[in-house]
């Protein structure tokens, strides 16, 4: 005998219930790797600021297999996070031309992949020339 409303129990593993929730969690977890890499980058800049010897010593420390794997994981996580971020751009920042909304694939290029690839090309040109 009950007599009242039925409330479903809270689900601790709610993120396992739908593939979209799992994708969401993966997207969120990639932020951790991006943050960790930023810390490494900040330390690297500090070492470079500390002189050539300190920078060389730091780069030597980063050349171990463990650090290389960490960098590869951070790169993969960052690329995935970037892709999901650009996928959200047309929703979060719609562009209207008159009464027509810019189609999502074009918006992704204009506001996401275009500037990203351009910036990457400029940086590579600056580093490799």
């Amino acid at each position: 005998m009950s007599g009242g409303q039925y409330h479903r129990p809270h689900r601790r593993a709610w993120f396992m219930e739908r593939p979209a929730y799992i994708r969401f969690m993966i997207r969120e977890v990639t932020s951790f790797f991006m943050a960790a890499y930023l810390i490494v980058l900040i330390v690297t800049l500090a070492k470079v600021g500390g002189g050539e010897a300190a920078a060389a010593e730091w780069l030597q420390a980063l050349s171990t297999t463990g650090w290389k794997v960490a960098h590869a994981v951070a790169l993969a996580a960052t690329v995935w996070h970037t892709i999901t971020f650009f996928a959200a751009v047309p929703q979060a920042m719609p562009i209207y031309i008159g009464e027509d909304r810019l189609p999502a694939p074009i918006a992704k290029i204009v506001m996401g992949y275009g500037p990203w690839l351009t910036a990457t090309a400029v940086i590579l040109w600056g580093v490799l020339r």
Binding site: G3, Q5, R11, E17, F24, Q91, A92
Partner: protein, 256 residues
Amino acid sequence: MAETKTITLELFRYHPETDSEPRFQSYEVPYDEDWVVLDAINWIKDYVDGSVTHRWSCRMGVCGSCGMMVNGEPKLTCAAFLKNYYPFPIKVEPLVNFPVERDLVVDMEGFMDKLQDVKPYIIRDDVNDTSGGEYLQTPAELAQYKQYSMCINCMLCYSACPVVGHEDDFLGPAALALGHRYNKDSRDQGRTERLEVMLSSEAMWGCTFVGECTVVCPKHVDPAGAIQQAKAMGAQEYFKRFVMPKGAGATKGAGA
């Protein structure tokens, strides 16, 4: 004579007078490829078990009454065709993230309260003054909010949203999208007033952009997009308070 094809529906049953826990009950229903899940439930109620309780009205995806979980997905049962599930059984439950009143019927009261919280109507200083005629609006101004005005309050987005399931006070996708709809309306002057509600942590900042509200929306409203735009609008309003003289930063509305 050819044997009549059937399909099994497993209905969530809960009668508060007699049940302390819900249970599932199976029904064999004649299979017709033109039938939707709602037709099958209606057939059960009409011919097998009149005690089955569910909510429905228009049967054409307009009223938003017949939202239920169909094999774990929030769906309008009037738009979920049996042929998409046949020959496998179909499990039908009330929408998740809502208290269950009886069988497939959920309590909508909390949802209705949340809708009212965002002041879903045009707010104007001159609301009683009609001497100037109608408020004109260009097609471009209409396009800014039209998509967000298509909501039928079916609550599928609330069932798809994990934040709704874990934060009772979270306003939720439909309410926030509706608030954004009025904030984007060039005739409205109530953006500041509305954002006071929408800027709280229980409102749009509670959204983690899972995005499933947009995926399940049968009217393509895109609540997730509306909420992210509302966040940007809210952040602009917040920072305007610091850089603008007192009172000058308050934006009355999209067209004001």
